[in-house]
Symmetry: C2
Subunit: 378 residues, 2 copies
């Protein structure tokens, strides 16, 4: 009988587990939010992941439960554990990914390098932080904040008045997170896989290029990375994976500062956009690795198979232009390009797929990946 992995969430991350699951002989079962989602092929249930009964019923027929996203509420996770379900990553690790204040607190406890930060409950506390940090800072709502939402650069405490007002009305109380505005030269991401029995596999640190607050492309490994940089990034990734007992894939988003320090920016406890290059550029893709890790199977080698890989996200253009013709044009122009699609209707700015290209020369690889992706831009 095949091992059965249940995935809560029917998005593109669950979709991209389908191929590796088929090859590994793993039966993938997906609890999708609605019909017709990216991972519809593997969907065995449709329902609300915030409803404990729905998730418990879904979990009854799987050996391990994992996630397409980190949004399953803690009370649902607790009910799963109570019912004896193997949940990976576990509630303790997920809690850190669900709340940026918890994350900053835990990073501090683990001694991880990170921007100066504070929990602020009113404008006065925020102003004090601003005064101490050159008059500008980043304010974040601890929960939510996906893809640039819930994040605001402020230079006066009054600019967060609406969020403080919302806090005051929130029965759970709480605080906002304020962080120093880091003078970074670029953004990096470090991925680590960890299985419950402890084995870890460390991917090379990569450079992530953001445009309009969204990941636009990934260069793997990070160019101009010194031996020291790679080792420090790997150490941070392993320390967090072990310190939080993460099971499955972990992505640590990092700032590289102009004075050559690495600071922890965000965490994701699942396959991550920064690791899509591994589908075509590493011995073991992050999607296969995640399945192996949550099943507590021996991990695969994370090493790259080419000197360089570049991933370029494909953002949807106007909905009236079908993707098919664009893909054909991209394929004709770049026969090396690996096209990955998410089965989503195109909409301006929406990630609908990505392109991977690997090879010996970074400039050439990046050129070809961008050329293939350009067929999707308007």
């Amino acid at each position: 009988m095949a091992l059965r992995v249940g995935v809560v969430g029917g998005g593109q991350l669950a979709r991209m587990m389908i191929g590796p699951a088929v090859e590994l002989g793993v039966e993938l079962r997906v609890l999708a939010e609605e019909p017709g989602m990216s991972a519809a092929l593997a969907a065995t249930a449709v329902g609300d992941y915030r409803d404990a009964d729905t998730v418990l019923a879904f979990a009854r027929d799987v050996d391990v439960l994992t996630f397409d996203h980190e949004h399953v509420p803690q009370d649902v996770l607790a009910a799963l554990l109570e019912a004896g379900v193997a949940v990976h990553p576990g509630p303790g690790a997920l809690a850190v990914a669900q709340d940026k204040l918890v994350m900053r607190t835990r990073m501090a406890e683990l001694g991880m390098p990170q921007p100066d930060w504070a929990a602020v409950t009113d404008a006065e506390e925020l102003q004090a932080f601003l005064d101490d940090h050159g008059g500008r800072a980043v304010v974040k709502t601890p929960r939510g904040g996906y893809d640039g939402k819930g994040v605001r650069v402020v230079s006066a405490a009054t600019e967060a008045d609406d969020w403080f007002a919302a806090l005051a009305e929130d029965a759970r109380g709480g605080a906002l997170l304020v962080e120093e505005l880091v003078d970074f030269s670029r953004e990096l991401a470090q991925q680590v896989a960890r299985r419950p029995s402890g084995e870890v596999a460390v991917y090379p640190v990569v450079e992530t290029v953001q445009r309009d607050g969204v990941c636009a492309e990934v260069l793997a490994p990070a160019p101009h990375g010194s031996e020291r940089l790679r080792a420090v990034a790997a150490d941070i990734g392993v320390a967090i994976a072990e310190g939080l007992a993460v099971t499955g894939m972990l992505a640590v988003e990092l700032f590289e500062t102009t004075d050559e320090r690495l600071l922890v920016n965000e965490l994701a406890m699942r396959p991550h956009n920064s690791g899509h290059w591994t589908q075509d550029g590493a011995v073991t893709s992050q999607f296969e690795q995640h399945l192996r890790a949550v099943l507590d199977l021996p991990l695969g080698r994370p090493e790259p198979t080419a000197a360089w890989s570049v991933m370029v996200n494909v953002l949807g253009g106007p909905a009236e232009q079908p993707l098919d013709a664009r893909f054909a044009a991209a394929m004709a122009d770049q026969p090396d390009a690996k096209v990955h699609t998410y089965g989503k209707a195109p909409r301006p700015g929406r990630k609908v797929g990505h392109i991977n290209v690997s090879g010996d020369d970074l400039d050439d690889v990046a050129y070809r990946a961008r050329a293939a992706a350009s067929f999707f831009q308007d």
Copy 2:
């Protein structure tokens, strides 16, 4: 709307199209022979591929029809064309893969190098061939003959008496195929993809190692292959693909003789065991390429991504030993090994999966692939 490819047959070749179809955004629909087959995840119908109504009903909801095997009868194929279904490869090409006498005749017409052969209808004709070829020859039933069945080495015409008797009772009449026993040094396979509009993509020729009449492993590219050998093999592959107007993947099994000639042994018009290495060792896997080709999309680059790739078939051991534990042991021992499973219950001698390993050193790559596979031997 996604492009829809229908696959007749629910075996492992259809199964291995699932991952590439998901990534390309192609909707794969499979007509399986029965429930629970290798490609069950993509099965949208279960039925008999020899029944025209069944196949026609299945074909109604797809853009292109293709195959997991070459056994769909010509009358069913004709009914599909009549109904306006796009069938790739087409009936004319499939006819050559379905009948070894037709194949030998067409190869002769195309001027392809092949063993001496004859169509023989009785023992007298067979004896004449034996007398002309050193007293031994290979006799084959033109239809069937998969994996060593329907093939017999004889040194006296009487050894085929039962087949001649069966022929005499067959209303369709016909003949047996007799071929000279080729003094070959090894077996090779050349894969070519061709799309309806004419573009071809040529994979490097590989060495296939048979054990007990079944493919045991594949070394890619073929070691010790001279520039000339590779070019001749490629030319043969392209000439056959174009000469027969094959659409999709074509595999040409070749004998390399001790006097350094290449002779056509068999043809397969679908993804083929000799190309499983491409899943992890080529820019474009044969499964993705087959989908692109039958959809008449631009073909992907067929070049290897590593110096060497070795594929070792996994044959099922006793049914009472579950595969899961074996896979875990293989993964732990060989973290580079790419494990591919077919979702089949293990049975002695049954192909239930394969292992791919790629790298710089052939001996090392072959050692690791065999080591991983050894966990499945008894």
